[in-house]
Structures are given as C-alpha cells and as structure tokens.
Amino acid sequence: MTRAWQLAFLLALAAPVASAQEALRPYVVTGDAIQRSLTGRPGDAARGRAIVANRSAGLCLLCHSGPIPEERFQGTLAPSLAGAGSRWSEGQLRLRIVDGARLNPDTIMPAYYRITGLQRVARPFAGKTVLTAEQVEDVVAWLATLKE
C-alpha cells in the first residue's frame, strides 16, 4: 500500500515534466468557469482518463476516488469524481482544474495550471505547471463524460 504512495512520488520525480518551458496560455474566467478551451481545441477523453489514473501525471487518485476500477488504491481526501460531468459544465470543470483556489482559497486541491503563489518548489518542477494545457483539456473532456 505504501508502495503506491512511494511509487507515485518516485515516478513524480522521475517523470519528464511535460509542461517544460511552455508559455502559459492566457484564459478568461467568467463567473465560476473558464468557457474556452485553453488550447482552442477540445481535449481527448481517453487520454484524460489515463492522466487522471496516472499517479505521476494527474495525481488525482491520491486524493479522489473515481470510476477507474483497475486502480485499486484511491484517495478519500476529496469527493468522488463520479458524476462530475453532471454536476459541472466543461467550463466549470476547467476552472476547477486550472486553479480551484480562485473558487475556494483554502482548497487543498493543487492548481494544475498555475505557477505563481507557490513556495520552495523542487527544482525539476520550478516554473512549470503540474499539467500542460493539452493535458488539462484532456482531463476536462474525460470528466465531462462522467454522467450519473
């Protein structure tokens, strides 16, 4: 069981940081949502699922559980992702992944597309977002399919 956690973090360190040096795409927040895709294109839900399941990419299952039965070790720190697509629009999901702290300043969920307001970031990750714009879109596309 600790293997999962340790592995997550070892992989996290070893993983090539996909967002390397990419300039942050600008986005507009309207209400509690980012309406437009960060990349201008729709994401790929199948890739999104893989990112969510991947402990070194999305890290989502550290905290959340979700309809990914092959991943045995899931978190209980956050609500289940099941049904996220019926609770939220794509735009709302996008803002929650990009920078959930804009909605809840105390949230423990990391901002996946923000590089400011962080302290003592390990060198390999400094100045980089957790996910790239493409990855954010893929994750949003998958979450949007989760209707209950």
Binding site: T2, A4, L77, L118, V121, A122, F125
Partner: protein, 257 residues
Amino acid sequence: MKAARAALGLVSLFAATWAVAQGTLETRRSGYQDMGAALRQMQDDDTANPGMLFVQLGAAAWDKPAGASGKSCADCHGAASGMKGVAARYPAIPPGADKPVDLGGRINLCRTGRQQAEPWPAEHRDLLALEALVALQSRGEPIAPPADPRLAPFRERGAEIYRRRQGQLNLSCAICHDDNAGKQLAGVVIPQAHPTGYPIYRLEWQALGSLQRRLRNCLVGVRADAWPLDAMEYVELETYLMDRARGMKIESPAVRP
C-alpha cells in the same frame, strides 16, 4: 440488568465528559496504531523486528574505542541502560551551545568532542545503530521535551514550517497530518506524524532510517525542495513534533511500511 447497563452507560458517559473536561481524552495516535496487525506484530516481537539487528550493531559500537582519544561510549557512560529517558527529551540544547541538536547530533558531538573522531555523515549505519540503541533504552517512556525556554523560537519555527504550504502541489504538513489524518492518500492511511518510533525500520527503505529521511520523503512527495539532511529546519520540525507528541510513549526502534 437494564438498570445496570444504564448505570454503566452513565458512568462511561461521565468518564468521557470528565476526560474532556480535564483535557485528557487522548485523540493522538501513533503511526503504530494505523498499521496492520502483521506490521504491529513485527514491531512488537524483538526477534522479528529488523530494527533490533541495528540495536545489536549499536551495542558493539557502544563498546568500541574510536578516534584519537581511544575511548568508547561505554568508557564515559557505562552501560547503555544508563541512557534511559535520553531519547525522550531530544532535541535539546547541549551545554555551551545556543542551538538544539537532535539525538543523532548529540551523538556526533560526543564523537567529535570526546572521542576526537570524524563525525558520522547523516544516515550512516553506525550512527543510526547507536541512535537505535540509545532510543531503545527509552522504550515506553513518555516523550518529555526539556523546559528550556531557549527552545521556544526553534519550536515556533518548526510549527511555522509545519503549517506552511510548499512544493508544486502546494500542501502543508498540517493539511495531511492534522486535517486529513486517518483518511487515505491513494490507499495509504495518513498517520498523525508523531515521532514516537525513530529511528525506524521502514519496509519501503529496507533499512533503518532517521526522522529526517522520513520528512524528506514527505517533502519530495509534495514536490518541494527538500533541505539537505543536516539542515536546521529538520531539527526545528522535530522540536515541534516532539512537543506535539509530549507524553506519548517512545516505541523505538519502530517498524513502518
């Protein structure tokens, strides 16, 4: 029967209320209590606890002369059993110093000052073995940080680090170990982070390791820049954690997953 049961219910209710009123209702848990039965048994059985092999190495090192002085620990301190209670009160500020050292730091002070030998580097097997030997003497003793007021600023800095969000994942120790302890992080129960068992034999490491090493694992986990193993920040965190665990029992050398 019914009356008896009701009375019993009342008594336990009173007991609980009384305990709360006295502030004595213990909600703190050692990481030991969050482990499965097999691991608890491994820790409890000295013939199965791998940490005890290191205690044996420590016992040999205790008696072995070292450095230009040609003296052993035993030459100054006698039997290791004289070290009872010592591990329960570190970090402490050694005589003539103005900063706390942890138990490993204190052992290294004897090594350089009294034995006139080279200090051991962090995580050196002999250093960990001696720490395990010394800590074993306090097994079952309550954690009892010294009343030294000079420790306060170090403890405060430790508390501040504990509450500060850091790393790319922007999490603090408190978020996991205070607010979410007992919940599961990817299937692993988050313990309350009490330093009751160090040095620990961690199955993940297949080795004995220090509290610093454990803390580094957590820092790396949140993708924070981990301080080098000999950094003061770890002593500050440990000073805070030992205060937070005041009164809990030492269980070194503990086993952890």
